[in-house]
């Protein structure tokens, strides 16, 4: 099956070409958070895998990356607020209708367990003999806890974007969580390929890249007019570059398995691909909100379908 963009030139009316839905007030901090949040989730899974299979390097690198990405995530989320000093107001309610509220609680819980798992890595450096003995097993439990929450952390952001009036985010809700899950896996695998290349990291790279590319293809081509912002302009360029980097990273991970250098380059390529995917998706949504066409035309079509089906 071949995808041809057969989107007819849209005719529509507007008020002086002004946007109808308001373009997001979020900045690139949010796109960066998508990446660091996904990286935290992906590397938590990597660490848990290392933990389960007795691969100490993978476990350690995974946990440290998770900690770093977690810190960056918190920073990006807070500075993007209009009132950063009030960030804790997020914690005064738990609201199931707000994906941001759900996500805050997921992130907070994940952060707690991931911090314990990360701290356990420092146990040998501690003076207390008791802590030296107790911390590692506690860290292992926490590490599995973080891994259990990681998939939620990586995918809730897709619901957060989809549950808006931003036309091109809302339309792609079926595939966006898969795109983000794949991207998170690929970035976690990237860390593994750089620090401790091995079969698990390579498999994770291929699976993650595969999920991301297939879901991304549906996002970029499966939604008619509302897929257009994912193909055009800056977001289109970002996503094209992301695709190339992700694919190259996965291929390199497999073909370069004998070379430490090629593995590390593949890992970098996967990380860059994952970051660009997030920026591309972010910008495509903003573009779809700025042009009233993407609000008016699909809604008009929906109205016409409805009036055609009810005589």
């Amino acid at each position: 099956m071949k995808d041809r963009s057969m989107v007819p030139k849209a005719e529509f009316e507007s008020y002086y070409g002004r946007p109808i839905v308001r373009p997001p007030v979020w900045t690139h901090d949010i796109a960066s958070y998508l990446f660091t949040g996904g990286l935290a989730a992906g590397s938590a899974l990597l660490a848990a895998g290392g933990q389960a299979t007795g691969d100490v390097t993978l476990r350690r690198v995974g946990r440290m990356t998770t900690l770093g990405a977690l810190g960056a995530s918190t920073y990006f989320l807070i500075i993007d607020l209009g009132r950063p000093e009030r960030f804790h107001h997020m914690l005064r309610v738990a609201k199931p209708t707000s994906p941001m509220s759900v996500g805050t609680w997921v992130l907070a819980t994940f952060g707690g367990v991931a911090a314990v798992a990360g701290a356990a890595e420092f146990a040998p450096l501690l003076p207390s003999r008791l802590l030296k003995r107790v911390l590692p097993p506690v860290g292992d439990v926490a590490g599995f806890g973080a891994a259990a929450l990681a998939p939620a952390l990586a995918t809730y952001t897709a619901v957060l974007f989809a549950d808006t009036a931003v036309p091109s985010w809302n339309a792609v809700y079926p595939e966006l969580p898969f795109m983000f899950a794949g991207s998170a896996l690929a970035s976690g695998a990237g860390v593994g390929l750089i620090a401790a290349p091995g079969k698990p990291a390579r498999r994770m790279a291929v699976l993650g890249a595969g999920i991301e590319l297939v879901a991304g293809h549906r996002v970029e081509h499966g939604h008619g007019l509302l897929s257009e912002p994912y193909q055009q302009g800056r977001p289109g360029t970002l996503l094209k570059a992301a695709r190339l980097l992700t694919a190259a990273g996965a291929v390199g991970a497999v073909l370069g398995r004998r070379s430490r250098v090629v593995s590390a380059l593949s890992g970098l390529s996967l990380l860059a691909g994952s970051a660009l995917t997030r920026f591309g998706v972010f910008e495509a949504g903003v573009a779809s909100a700025k042009d009233p066409k993407y609000t008016v035309v699909p809604q008009r079509e929906r109205l016409e379908r409805r009036s055609a089906s009810s005589p």
């Binding site: 997001p24 848990a48 107001h89 309610v93 899950a181």
Partner: protein, 305 residues
Amino acid sequence: MGSNSLYGPIDPATDAGYVDAPPRMGFFTDTSVCIGCKACEVACKEWNAVPDDGFNLLGQSYDNTGGLSANSWRHVAFIEQPVTSDVLGSVSSSKSPQFLGMPTSEPPGKASPGPTSDFRWLMMSNVCKHCTHAGCLDVCPTGALFRTEFGTVVVQQDICNGCGYCVSGCPYGVIDRREDDGRAWKCTLCYDRIGDGLTPACAKACPTESIQYGELSELRERASRRVADLHSQGVPAARLYGHEEDNGVGGDGAFFLLLDEPEVYGLPPDPTVATRDLPKMWKRAGLAALAMAASAVVAFAGRRG
């Protein structure tokens, strides 16, 4: 939460947990009598102490406000339209001498018979719709946005942390974050006035009763009578917007009588609250999360240390 809490016709105040809530209050804005005086914009700013949004010349007819924003909670749109005589119908003919064509040096009605043209102005005072299913309120993670006992939607400024989610949640592009302040602002339907039985400032100031305030059920009846009247007077283009309880947001607490398609006024033709599909969205995310977990297991399978 009832089964309709995310979508469908409900009484919002009751759904939010109010016992013996007062009747739902709202606006009916009849654009067919709007003269574009902007008294509503000014009265709103005065009463609510809304800061100015700069001195702009936008080149959009007489509209230099541009649209609703954190600093404009009422906005009067001006549309200059070339129209064929069949749209204007009898309005432009002798039957209605007060029809305002392009302005002349004489006061309207004085220069009889006023020169009419195949041109018309549309004017509309836009405002927050106080949706039954409000996208802004659904997604607010702090609880800053809340439902009042009158069924309206209001931001608590001491709670809002400016996360900006509501801005993207509103299908009408109404609520906005104020730049130098960082918090979200919009029409409160003058919560501080209506609680004391007063009329909201804009409706009070409107000289033509284009903005009507009252019990929503009463306004809906009045509006349907007004459309019927206009149709019988030869204005077939008159239509209501946002009045139906089964529209995409479960009915607007502030609805309109328009003389053209909604998008001409900058309104979405068929807005839907995104939260309607939230259960489906979580289901997809759940599947993706499972796929992610399974991938990690597969990646490490067959390897024991």
